[in-house]
Symmetry: C2
Subunit: 180 residues, 2 copies
């Protein structure tokens, strides 16, 4: 099973694809960087269109998305909501399940510590995925891989009280129910 992790941001959107085959394996990671002049609609289209391309290229089964509940201010929450919506829409349009995790969930799963910093998370991502040192990893790409790993851990470890947060029912199931 392949997992596409997405770290939506106001400027850049990180993505990371991992695969579970026994151990977890790195497939791809990078950053969606809309043209500097692209604002509003064009910026969002760059995010959505590239996510759709990634889904069609790597065929993930699910999208794992970071959902922060905090923002610097209302304006930044609006912009972040817009970017996040692109991942949600791409999931719905390709019939993928979407799971959402808070930044603390992600850090706890990957680095064992909910307040781990970016450097610690990147170190653990590299170690866990046995990443070749030759592979450069931007911060947003590393965060996206961590978000994908978070879903993999939460799915793999059954708990008496399940900690998997299945945020939304299968998009495809609901789409059918809606007749859309």
């Amino acid at each position: 099973m392949r997992i596409l992790g997405v770290d939506p941001g106001n400027a850049l959107t990180g993505y990371g694809v991992i695969e579970r085959e026994g151990a977890s394996r790195y497939v791809a990671a990078g950053t969606i960087r809309p043209h500097a002049a692209a604002r509003g609609p064009t910026r969002l289209a760059a995010i959505y269109d590239n996510l759709i391309k990634l889904i069609d290229q790597y065929s993930p089964a699910v999208i794992s998305l970071e959902r922060s509940f905090v923002a610097l201010n209302i304006q930044s929450a609006f912009t972040l909501g817009e970017a996040r919506a692109m991942a949600m829409l791409a999931a719905a349009h390709r019939g993928l399940e979407l799971f959402e995790y808070t930044p603390t969930d992600v850090k706890l799963s990957v680095a064992g510590y909910g307040r781990a910093d970016k450097r610690q998370v990147k170190q653990m991502v590299r170690r866990t995925l046995k990443l070749d040192p030759a592979i450069a990893l931007a911060d947003d790409a590393s965060d996206a891989l961590a978000i994908a790993l978070c879903h993999l851990y939460r799915e793999r470890i059954p708990r008496p009280e399940p900690r998997v947060r299945k945020a939304w029912p299968t998009a495809r199931k609901i789409a059918a129910a809606c007749g859309s």
Copy 2:
């Protein structure tokens, strides 16, 4: 020229299409109401897919969108940003120009008073568009028509210091510049 006004909301999204041919003319209006069980990705897909259908059916030249800069709280700003992003993406995907106006802009243009209430706005929308009393008009649909009218007024009245807020450059132009 046809204008599609969109009033994105957390639950419902209003739309209204008007046409300028000498006077302004009502074409259509209504509410996009995702299935009650639809949440997250499916809710957003219902908004986006229906906006695309409306654009293909009515061929507007521009989208006029309400951009509020306030929200009850951060969470509501996230959700509202998600809904608004659907109109922005639909504009980019269909190569339409997008204009954004604040609620005060809209009320001022349509009712001549920036703090007009919903009833007053609806009354002025009905009067301006000479709406047949037989046509029922939901609040969100009336708001969307007001947003469309706001763009029409701002475009029609040339001012020394133009008050048309062309929020984003033509999506199509930028898309070309991005090579996407």
